[in-house]
Amino acid sequence: MIVAEQKPMAEIKELVAPYKKVLILGCGTCVKTCFAGGEDEVAVMASALRLAFKVDGKEIHVEEQTVERQCEDEFIQESAPAIARNEAVLSLACGAGVQAMARRFKSTPLLPGVNTTFIGVLEKPGLFTEECSGCGDCKLAVFGGICPFTRCAKKLLNGPCGGSQNGKCEVSAETDCAWHLIIERLTALGQMDNLRTYIPPKNWRASLAAGPRRLFREDHVI
């Protein structure tokens, strides 16, 4: 899923401050799952904003709504009436959601309420970890299902650097060394030969390095 984190309240207040009527728009998919922008977070955010501006003696009207997915035109359509009633939208969707909204509602200011952080998983309750950088050229089969491009701080392809100790990354003692995990897993799978082979430089052409990517599916053109 796409993992996001709510922006600090002070920053959100500053974004919202110029407006008197604001729609807080949640998204019911990824950001709901990572507790950043689902229905519950929209409700909490709305109360927090009302309270914060009340303390400052400023009047603000906050409306709440959550759509299934802000990144799909089909779903964001439902928010059109609410958007028409408000001066701005504080979107709690990921960056793709905010931009899809901007594409559809050309005259409404869109304010991002979350920082989109990564593509990841819920490793355990309360902990999300980054697993994929969307490089466009997946080599997980070679690395036992653990991505060194994403999970090694140096993007090493040919084994761990000299700083890995006790299975932890030198950059952060809280982060597992991806290479330690790869070696453990390939040992268990009996595939350590994968790591004796020289892995050539990565082809980054399929990644963001070559500019924003498009995926065209001719078979889906109507």
Binding site: A153, K154, K155, L156, L157, N158, G159, P160, C161, G162, G163, S164, Q165, N166, G167, E170, V171, C177, W179, H180, I183, E184, M192, L195, R196, Y198, I199, P200, P201, K202, W204
Partner: protein, 307 residues
């Protein structure tokens, strides 16, 4: 091992002589006199001077420029090159430029992560890794081609080095990685500073058993300690370092003003043991901001005069 480079360090190692190299960090500024002074201290007591490339991710005078100053003095530099700051285009370009300036040895590294440096906000590159860089230099040297396959007008006949850390985890994989670096084209290996001799011996034995020491020259890294504080700092704070407790206590067990002397004593004992180990073909002295002591160490170890 190929005989294709024109490096003096290679000639010394190939002749079976026990090699001595030393490290030299460029200044955080533009004054070439600082490099020349360090060069003067090392002249005559080492076979090559290894010049760091923005080590610990702190901005310094470039390794290429500092190496060129040393070449002008008649010293032979080993240019360190990290993949942290440059993509493959800049790396290949700099390798050719360096060779054109008379730099004949390269040490291919991935580099310390920028979060450890003075500008942790920087974007890293890591387009290719150190293994890829080793192979790139080898292909340029032996096939005269760049990474695109383009035939170069003249190729860099560099002696290629890579790093190995016998003290990092997972231990068993370290030898596989060493073998990969040799296959990729490493002619010599410079190790992390050796303090834990037992572990280093075990690693060397694995390298010998795998036949790797027949294919590569291993230079053991040696760093003299100045104080008990430095010993503790390296043990606790420097990633990939293994300083045994007994050495920390030994450094702490003498009066503060006697600590550098004790550090040099440990250093000489280490070198003596390293010289006895099968497959160790030389030492690389990393006397960090203490270059003036290198001559004393080399002489004390009975490694003077240099060839």
């Amino acid at each position: 091992m190929t005989m294709e480079s024109t490096s003096r360090l290679q000639k010394i190692l190939s002749s079976g002589e026990f090699a001595v190299t030393a490290e030299c960090g460029p200044p955080r500024g533009v004054d070439p006199e600082i490099i020349r002074k360090k060069g003067e201290l090392l002249k005559g007591c080492v076979d090559a001077v290894n010049v760091t490339d923005n080590q610990t991710a702190i901005v310094r005078m470039s390794s290429i420029a500092a190496c060129a100053h040393l070449v002008d003095m008649g010293l032979e530099p080993v240019m360190q090159m990290v993949t942290r700051d440059r993509n493959r285009i800049a790396l290949q370009s700099d390798i050719m430029g360096a060779y054109s300036l008379g730099i004949k040895n390269i040490l291919c590294l991935t580099g310390d992560h920028q979060t450890f440096g003075s500008q942790p906000d920087a974007l890293n590159v890591f387009d290719i890794d150190s293994m890829n860089l080793v192979r790139t230099v080898k292909t340029m040297r032996e096939e005269g081609r760049d990474m695109s396959g383009f035939e170069l007008k003249g190729s860099p006949k560099m002696f290629i080095g890579a790093a190995a850390n016998p003290f990092a985890d997972p231990f068993e994989y370290r030898i596989i990685r060493l073998a990969k670096k040799i296959d990729a084209g490493a002619d010599f290996i410079q190790t992390q500073c050796v303090y834990n001799l037992d572990r280093f011996k075990q690693w060397m034995k694995m390298a010998v058993d795998e036949g790797l020491t027949e294919k590569v020259h291993i230079l053991a890294g040696v760093t003299p300690m100045k104080s008990a504080g430095m010993a503790r700092y390296m043990a606790k704070r420097v990633a990939g370092m293994d300083v045994p407790e007994n050495l920390i206590q030994r450094m702490g067990g003498v009066a503060k003003e006697k600590a550098p002397e004790e550090g040099l004593k440990i250093c000489l004992e280490t070198i003596a043991e390293l010289r006895e180990m099968e497959g160790v073909h030389g030492i690389h002295l990393m006397a960090i901001e203490w270059e003036e002591v290198v001559g004393e160490i080399v002489a004390g170890a009975g490694l003077m005069p240099r060839p």
